[in-house]
Symmetry: C2
Subunit: 386 residues, 2 copies
DNA sequence: GGGACTTACTTTTGGTGCGAAACAATTGCT
DNA sequence: AGCAATTGTTTCGCACCAAAAGTAAGTCCC
């Protein structure tokens, strides 16, 4: 099966750019592709021919509008055979493995989760292997596996350090590949989500793109020129050093007003519990804030101002074309989006280009999908480069 | 002369990359060039031949060390004939025009300033024309003119808005070209300095590079992938919206703790004057602070902390490989560099890559040189792209 | 001082990728 | 039917480049 997956792999740079453009955008005619890639019509004929022969692309019937009132020879759009291959994506959390099956175009076609009762690397790999076997029954043409882990990952293969799994230098890709025979890509979960959004999501085709995730922790991803910028500190207690408000609330870690203590879900719940003595879920707190319950409203308002400050700083220094807010903790935007926007406006130059701020509430399956996209990416790009 | 300047202009992309590499780095052998550009030795022969024939490059004698104890055939480094052309750079301030003559490699070979008694566009262009004529007497082979202006510049030609000259939509490039017959490039002064540093200075060859200037105002330049990122608000009262310290000192503009009010030379002088009633120059204030005079020491210390905060934020979000601090107001670093470093460290993750922070005190001739470099760049790059 | 070795550069050759232009296909309009 | 418009195909040639083989110019060492 691995050999089969590799059959359409050796692509030239031109072929690859065509494949990626169709993959990411959807059906496109040759002329349209020529326009987008800045190539001549002749080159497109040359480039698409082997792709069609190899089965990665197909000519599809003229799309939705059948009798399109246009002159000239009708175009024959090309599309990837999205169902020809399936990919697996896993997100490993402390107590659960979330799994999804996606098409080549990263549409989720199945979900499957399993509790994680052990953190022993071999046993975790066993669980992943079993889940793969189960999913392979319904989706026979699996081409690759992507795994997202919170923590520091090296070479897309080895979990260098994961605080919550208590792992150090675990060659997870190798372990899972032994059990499944499929190519495996392991990546930090935030990094995987960022890459996925860069390819198939909000960051498609952008030159400067930022992803900010809010959940149990904070995550930051910077994409410049289509490539994610790696950095040493990612997901190793990130955001604790972003001082947003020197007068902010004190939190268990003893620092005042850092981004983690003001924005993450555990910190917000902690603040409410410390003030009211009662434990609420994040959703309950948001609902209370929306209903103008003073204490939750104040905490949420402060979080919104902190978020606005962060966004403004990012805009001022990075000037991204778009910022994506993702994660489980962006429900904040529904309740206090206006405060965020006001804070951003207040800390930016009036002539500055307005922020393109996109909010995307994500659950754990979205994180798993991100890992699957990374597997797609590595396979289509021929694993040569990032 | 313009036609002469254009004689070595039509370069292929390969030739251009060779020319630029030699231009910005200095003498390089063909083998070394092949290594740097990722080309084969054969290609270098092919590419350098026309460049040598056209006179842009020359083979130079084995450099400094004459009898280098190396085996094998000695290399024959190639160098640009730096003196074959001269370039002019002007920096226009409210009351003075600063002018420099530079070689192809942007070494300043002459300086010439003139007071500016009027802000009328035509008369300013006259002054520039006269200065050009004077300088052309001693430096006959002028190939281009670069002009740096504080304010908003469009298309490298038109001063869209300059607050201190009170200009709107002045086609300065055209006006000066009419009077001199030379190709003219007009650019925002900060932008020109940033481009110059990217080419010939601290940012050479870097992928992510930030320039922060401190002087009468603040300037910010972001270079990604070798290209400067333009933004709408540059040099239109920049930095007033960067809130660095919500508890910072109140300043004339009524906002607290923004970067302009804590860092720029006029603001620091204002703070001292407001507190002590005496007016001091910036240098005097730094000297007083170094001598531990309490009030100046406190103001400078606060400025250093503000600068540290800015640098940390830039590092956290942009992750540049280097930050260059330039301008007349970076003398701060000599007196309070330690505070800056401590503040940066305090607001960054301990695992984060350390900042490469370079300080470069610049006077107005450096700004003029920046404009000249832009002229070089546009001419060598064939004015096609940025 | 002369062969062995090393490194720098040149020439030749062949391949690749692309654009330009001519050509074929398919439709709408008159 | 004839023409214009549009898409896609084929052919040809150019520009570029890498690989390999050849040439140049020195050092090393006996």
């Amino acid at each position: 099966m691995t050999a089969g997956a590799a059959s359409w792999l050796p692509l030239s740079t031109g072929e690859r750019s065509v494949a990626i453009e169709v993959l990411v955008h959807g059906p496109l005619s040759r002329t349209e592709l020529a326009r987008r890639l800045g190539l001549s019509a002749g080159s497109l004929t040359r480039l698409t021919k082997p792709l069609i022969e190899s089965g990665l692309l197909v000519e599809v019937a003229e799309a939705g509008v059948p009798a399109e009132a246009r002159q000239g020879r009708p175009s024959t759009p090309l599309d990837v055979v999205a169902d020809s291959r399936s990919f697996l994506g896993f997100k490993i959390t402390e107590d659960t493995v979330y799994g999804v099956v996606t098409t080549l175009r990263s549409h989720i076609v199945a979900r499957h989760d399993r509790p994680l009762t052990t953190h022993d690397p071999a046993e975790v790999a066993d669980v992943l292997g079993e889940m793969t076997a189960e999913l392979a029954r319904d989706h026979p043409r699996l081409a690759g596996i992507g795994i997202g882990v919170g923590g520091f990952v090296q070479d897309r293969a080895v979990v260098g350090e994961s605080p919550f799994l208590l792992w150090r230098d675990v060659p997870l890709a190798e372990l899972v590949q032994e059990r499944t025979g499929l190519p495996v890509v392991v990546e930090n979960d935030v990094a995987a989500l960022v890459e996925a959004e860069t390819w198939f999501g909000a960051g498609r085709g952008l030159d400067r793109f930022v992803v900010l995730t809010i959940g149990a922790g904070l995550g930051y991803g910077l994409v410049l020129g289509g490539k994610r910028v790696p950095f040493a500190e990612e997901d190793r207690g990130f955001g604790r050093h972003w001082i947003v408000d020197p007068n902010g609330p004190l939190t268990p870690d003893g620092r005042r007003g850092n981004a983690v203590s003001m924005l993450t879900i555990p910190s917000i719940r902690y603040q409410i519990q410390a003030a009211t003595g009662r434990d609420h879920t994040y959703e309950e707190i948001l609902a209370l804030a929306a209903a103008k319950d003073p204490m939750p409203a104040r905490v949420v308002e402060e979080a919104a101002r902190a978020l606005g400050t962060l966004v403004a700083q990012i805009c001022n220094f990075v000037m991204p074309q778009k910022i994506l807010l993702a994660g489980e903790g962006v429900g904040l935007m529904d309740v206090a989006g206006k405060t965020v926007e006001e804070t951003v406006r207040d800390q930016r130059h009036p002539l500055a280009a307005p922020v393109d701020l996109e909010t995307k509430v994500s659950d754990f399956h979205d994180w798993a999908r991100g890992a699957a996209v990374l597997a797609i990416k590595v396979l289509v790009l021929g694993s040569a480069e990032a």
